[in-house]
Symmetry: C2
């Protein structure tokens, strides 16, 4: 049950392990607007699945209730477009569960691609990754909340996208803005 | 007092007159995250000024208090990067006040460019507008909250950017995502 324009790109928003501004490993709380904004952009660009990854059961329960409001509750009637965007959201307890689900879906392990606000090794550029998606390669692109993905998550990635720079030295985009820009660079016309 | 990488592009987020989903003219409430997310992206891409335009005095008062928290209150110490992003925010009562401020600053009327989720006449493409910015032309780019700018605002614009499409028929980006993508298309490398 794919939708018109659906690609083989999936996203995961990681809430643990991520780093705080002192580079300490933390878990972050799920933010309502991270779900909505990124789901809307993801659905616009044909993302197959948008995983919300958190190990905290109470957080997953909260997100589940929010999703139910839009899937079968008042929200589904009030705003069907929002329902459509949120229909690609999947709740998982971590990155491994997302990888396992995609491996089952596509019959092969997806390429794991990390995003980062700083330059790192194993860089894959936007054009190369965009072509892989258009060629039907299963890809999981991961974003970190708080101050970004923990080094232990980055080290699992097969490739890393270059950071987004905008012509100034300022480098503090929200994860919602970064995800929007990355998707447009990969799949915008 | 310009900053390193500052361009002659300014943004305005219009809260009245905008349309609701039934295309009726309404005024919308200012959303905290519209201020933060768009200011962060705008500062990343060298936007000179980010105008929050609302005719409602109580809304401007609320935003003023929020900005003060980050400019001189606890927020300024807790997160100096956020302070830097919010330093480009200006509160105005409407589009005309933003145009007047820019005319005084640059000594000429800025080009008024509207954004829209649907195709319209007077289209200027992203590459053309990006070149005008790099040539130092003063530009005011306007975004509508709710379901977008009212026709009477669109009709004032000198030019209109094409809508953002992502390869599917889904066309419901948040204004935060749309602003991020537009800035990257105009000024991203």
């Amino acid at each position: 049950m794919t939708y018109q324009g659906e690609t083989t790109l999936s996203l995961a928003l990681i809430h643990h392990p991520v780093v705080n501004k002192r580079a300490e490993i933390i878990g972050s709380a799920v933010t309502n607007l991270d779900i909505h904004d990124i789901a809307r952009t993801a659905r616009t660009y044909g993302v197959a699945q948008y995983f919300i990854a958190t190990p905290y059961a109470d957080q997953r329960q909260l997100v589940q209730e929010l999703l139910a409001h839009w899937e079968t509750g008042h929200g589904a009637v009030y705003n069907p477009a929002r329902r459509e965007a949120l229909s690609i959201v999947r709740l998982v307890d971590g990155l491994e569960a997302a990888m396992t689900a995609l491996k089952e879906q596509y019959g092969k392990r997806p390429l794991l691609v990390a995003t980062s606000a700083i330059f790192r090794e194993k860089t894959l550029n936007y054009k190369e990754l965009g072509e892989m998606i258009r060629n039907g390669e299963p890809i999981l692109l991961i974003f970190g909340t708080a101050h970004g993905l923990a080094p232990e998550v980055i080290s699992l990635a097969d490739a890393i996208l270059p950071p987004i720079m905008g012509g100034t030295e300022y480098n503090h985009l929200s994860v919602r803005s970064a995800a929007s820009i990355v998707l447009d660079r990969l799949l915008g016309s």
